[in-house]
């Protein structure tokens, strides 16, 4: 037997992108190769971690060997490993898309130089969030994410992007500071910040305040209606790969923390959960209405993010505070589905814009170029976001509705149905535009706008669609280590 060198995969998935970022920053000319290399490496390490969780169950590394609460523990159970794998997986494909996108002769060299370090730092922060078990550490990770994400938002340097990026910055910092004040309240009451310490805590006013503050901050960062105002412009004005990362991955980090808080703290507050559900409904309605009115493709996609996040919150809150032990599964699946599909959709939207030169929805059918594969990717991603079978989105909605039906919460079924119908309505605006009707007849044979860059969105879209077939094993994997206790 050869003894395997004991590599700590938990640390590795945080440090590998960090090392990549440093290298990419030091070697600006080779940044793209370094970047892709680091992401590939991270993806490999993430796979190793997933495998480890699969074989050994939840994995813990007590950094510095102090152990919580004095030190900080990294921990991967099924849920965190799933999200971490999702992040690296989607990140890998978006990186490949970005490799192509920023290598484009029109893209300024500056973008290439800065995209990679920022994105790798973002990846490091995201993985850090999923593996963290300490509230203050989460705050620091959230700030890493915020700053890197703001950087990515304004990558193009255009005035709309900078304006949107500044708004995003304010929202993001304020959200983090609300979270930090919540952390202060937790320490005031408990004198420790590790998750395990929260678990045993009896309800108290300070913890109630802490929970409210932290959830409010996270809701702001994740753009839950009516705290969503910053999101549409930020996501719509970033460059395509950046939009994909922001919409698919960044908002998930704060959503994930809400899930974790639910695990440890939410039983404290029934009112808060009801409020979250209500705001989720508001998000679905308002986001959809705005998506129906949007004139630009990327703006529509961004507004759909607002609506879809609302749906995740609905899924999460549908059974009240005690029901979270079940309802988190639907929320997590919907997060996963949204991440993959939305990344595909933003990359596809970017490709379409690149090929036909604009992204005005009304004029999508008037171009002589036909970016078939990008349009196909968009359509497949839309199917997953709408939640038609066999997509991952369907699996999430199915669990959501099944749970609601079993417990007799008919209003949540109605909400899900309405959300589905609305999403059909706004996506069909775009999809109808893809079917061209010869408003502008061209004598020369139409040009098919294909590129290697279509591979990334297409793969993501196919994953969004096809992973629904694997929903059962994914669910089983997410439950490893029983993130929410109890029997599987």
């Amino acid at each position: 037997m050869i003894e395997m060198p004991a590599i700590d995969w938990l640390t590795a998935v945080v440090f590998a992108p960090l090392a990549g970022a440093i290298l990419a920053f030091l070697l600006p000319r080779q940044a793209h190769w370094v970047g892709v290399g680091a992401v590939v490496l991270t993806a490999l390490m993430a796979s190793a971690l997933v495998l480890q969780v699969l074989t050994e169950g939840a994995v813990v590394t007590p950094l510095g060997n102090w152990g919580a609460p004095l030190g900080i523990d990294l921990r991967a159970d099924g849920l965190s490993a799933t999200l971490m794998a999702m992040t690296t997986g989607v990140g890998l494909l978006v990186s490949l898309g970005a490799l192509n996108s920023y290598a484009h002769h029109r893209a300024p060299e500056r973008m290439r130089r800065y995209f990679w370090p920022l994105w790798l730092l973002l990846l490091s922060g995201l993985n850090g969030v999923y593996l963290s078990t300490d509230l203050f550490n989460l705050y620091v990770m959230l700030e890493v994410i915020s700053l890197a994400a703001v950087g990515l938002t304004v990558l193009s340097g255009r005035i709309e992007a900078v304006r949107a990026g500044l708004e995003y910055m304010y929202a993001s910092i304020l959200g983090a500071l609300l979270f930090l004040l919540g952390v202060g309240f937790v320490y005031l009451e408990l004198g420790r910040l590790d998750f395990a310490g929260l678990l045993a805590a009896p309800p108290s006013p300070a913890l109630g305040a802490a929970l409210a503050l932290m959830v409010a901050g996270l809701a702001l960062k994740t753009a839950l209606f009516p705290l969503h105002v910053w999101l549409p412009q930020a996501h719509a004005n970033a460059t395509a790969p950046a939009s994909a990362l922001l919409s698919a991955l960044v908002v998930k980090a704060s959503l994930y923390i809400v899930l974790r808080l639910a695990q440890y703290l939410l039983p404290l507050s029934e009112v808060l959960v009801a409020l979250i559900g209500l705001l989720g409904v508001g998000a679905i309605l308002w986001g959809s209405i705005q998506a129906l009115r949007a004139e630009r493709l990327k703006l529509l996609v961004a507004w759909s993010t607002v609506a879809q996040i609302g749906l995740v919150f609905v899924a999460f809150a549908r059974a009240g505070a005690d029901g979270v032990a079940e309802s988190w599964k639907a929320a997590a699946l919907l997060m996963l589905a949204h991440a993959i599909a939305k990344a595909a959709m933003f990359l596809a939207a970017g490709r379409i814009k690149e090929e036909i030169g604009h992204d005005r929805i009304r004029e999508l059918d008037r171009s002589p170029v036909r970016p078939t594969l990008a349009q196909l990717s968009f359509a497949l991603a839309a199917i997953s976001l709408v939640g038609l079978p066999p997509s991952l989105g369907f699996a999430g909605k199915w669990i959501l509705m099944e749970g609601a039906m079993t417990s007799g919460y008919w209003h949540w079924i109605a909400v899900t149905m309405i959300a589905t119908m609305l999403s059909v309505a706004y996506f069909s605006r775009v999809l109808t535009g893809f079917l061209r009707f010869d408003r502008q007849r061209t004598t020369v044979g139409e040009h098919q706008g294909w590129a290697l860059a279509d591979a990334a969105p297409l793969t993501l879209a196919l994953c969004a669609l096809g992973l629904g077939l694997l929903a059962a094993p994914i669910l089983a994997f997410m439950n490893i280590g029983y993130p929410f206790g109890g029997a599987p």
Binding site: L388, P389, M401, E402, V424, T432, L435, L469, A471, A472
Partner: protein
């Protein structure tokens, strides 16, 4: 004997894989496209024939894939599936030939054939679905795949029709989703099992079972165009003729009707459905649809629109036969699934030929077309007479069994209903035939038909399907005829003592 071989999956994958290839092909490579289309359709017909043979030997194919705990995707090739899949395979081949001819110079052929293929894949899936969940998946896929076909021409009317179509069918799909979910929660399974899975539930909570039935029938009734959920069908006539032909004969409306068959026989079980009083309600709904559709067909001048209303009426024969709860009526219903398909596809293809070759789209302009286009109009005549129910054509056989079944089940009111409906059928088909054969072509210059020779690809398919109408009626008792196959199915669906 159950067999887990991949044959059903392969049959599903043929059109499913052809679709992206066809979509990706450049517009100009027409030859390659036609080769792929016809090749795939031919291979599929052969494989379906092989599958039918195996199933007739008593083999049941059963493939499963677990999607969520307790929720499987299930492909199952049972005799009922074979009935539908055979229809789909044969008519796909014929319609493909027709469509190649019809769209020879048209725009967006890559897109058309891609989605056409996808649409066929969806019908295969619907046929092979072994549980309601799988059925739902392909039901939704069918909706999405047909939408681009409906709006193919991109005119304002087409877009409007597309919007109405999408609202109806996706709404129906959502309702069906709700029904599937309800079924799953109530019964803990969505499997199609002869004799049904709801016996216990029906005893414990009859109201829930009844409500669920209503939800499921609404979800399926949209596609089956049952009154009052039928409005999309006449509007969707703006689609190209091959699309209309396929929509009416195999794909959309039949998917709804097929779903109703599955739900009544294999989700509820005919006895449970009867005990809950559901069959009566369904029969009444079907009767209303039959009469209403026929009456509305009378008033239409647009040929395709008249045919569409006729479809509304005819498809509900299937629901009626199912609801009569008699094995003989069931045979009629199942046979009508096939018979109506081949008859209606003939009618639509000829209507397309009239529009393509002569520019005629209205009944009032059909004067003397029989002399100009004798082959096509002969086929049309055969199919129309079949629709009316003239022996020995296919339509007669199904109507006969329906009537006999009605008597068998002690539902005498069916006889006048069928008679009335047949009279109405005659009332809207015979004038068309009369105009075509016994009137002189219009002399007025503005009405003079523009003559364009139609190629064999347009002429041959309706002739072939008309021949099928004749064969299916005349040889109804031969082995492997649709009727004989339905006997095979019905023996499975009805417990032995029912005979």
């Amino acid at each position: 004997m159950n067999n887990a071989s991949l044959l059903p999956l392969i049959i599903l994958l043929i059109p499913l894989c052809a679709a992206p290839v066809l979509l990706a092909l450049p517009e100009r490579s027409a030859g390659l496209r036609t080769a792929i289309n016809l090749g795939a359709a031919l291979v599929k017909v052969l494989l379906v024939a092989w599958l039918s043979w195996k199933v007739s030997q008593g083999v049941i194919y059963d493939l499963r894939w677990t999607v969520l705990p307790g929720l499987d995707l299930n492909l199952q090739a049972d005799p009922l599936a074979i009935l539908f899949i055979a229809l789909s395979a044969v008519l796909w081949l014929i319609t493909t030939v027709y469509a190649v001819g019809y769209l020879e110079k048209g725009p967006h052929r890559a897109r058309f054939f891609g989605f056409f293929s996808l649409c066929v894949a969806a019908t295969v899936g619907i046929a092979l679905a072994g549980n309601l969940f799988t059925f739902l998946l392909f039901y939704e896929m069918l909706t999405l795949a047909t939408y681009p076909l409906v709006i193919h021409y991109g005119t304002a009317a087409a877009l409007r029709a597309g919007r109405i179509y999408l609202i109806y069918t996706l709404g129906g799909g959502l309702v069906l989703l709700l029904g599937t979910l309800g079924l799953w929660v109530l019964a803990g399974s969505t499997d199609f099992v002869p004799g049904g899975i709801l016996e216990g539930v029906a005893e414990d909570t009859p109201l829930a079972a009844q409500l669920l039935f209503a939800v499921l029938i609404i979800g399926l009734g949209v596609k089956a165009a049952m009154v009052p959920l039928h409005s999309w069908l006449p509007v969707a006539m703006v689609a190209p003729a091959p699309v209309s032909a396929l929509l009416h004969a195999v794909a959309v409306v039949k998917a709804g009707a097929f779903g109703i068959i599955r739900v009544v026989y294999e989700v509820y079980g005919i006895e449970t459905a009867q005990a809950l009083g559901l069959t009566t309600a369904l029969a009444v709904l079907a009767a209303i649809t039959i009469l209403y559709g026929s009456i509305r067909a009378l008033g239409q001048d647009d040929i395709k629109r008249r045919l569409a209303w006729s479809t509304v009426s005819q498809v509900s024969y299937i629901a009626l036969g199912v609801a009569l709860a008699s094995p003989i009526a069931a045979m009629g219903a199942l046979a009508h699934l096939i018979h109506q398909g081949i008859m209606k596809i003939t009618l639509f293809m000829v209507a397309g030929n009239l529009a393509e070759g002569l520019g005629i789209k209205q009944v009032s302009r059909m004067n003397g077309v029989g002399l100009i286009m004798p082959g096509s109009m002969a086929a049309f005549t055969l199919a129309a007479l079949g629709m009316i129910g003239l022996p020995p054509l296919a339509g007669f056989v199904s109507k006969w069994y329906l009537a006999a079944g009605g008597l068998d089940a002690g539902q005498g009111w069916v006889i006048p209903l069928l008679l009335g409906s047949s009279l109405l059928n005659a009332a809207y088909f015979l004038p068309m035939l009369h105009r075509a054969w016994f009137r002189q072509p219009d002399a007025a210059p503005q009405d003079a038909p523009v003559r364009r020779p139609i190629g064999w690809m347009l002429a041959a398919p309706p002739t072939a399907t008309a021949a099928l109408v004749l064969v299916a009626g005349g040889l109804a008792n031969a082995p492997f005829s649709p009727l004989e196959w339905t006997r095979f199915i019905v023996t499975l669906e009805y417990s032995a003592e029912a005979f």
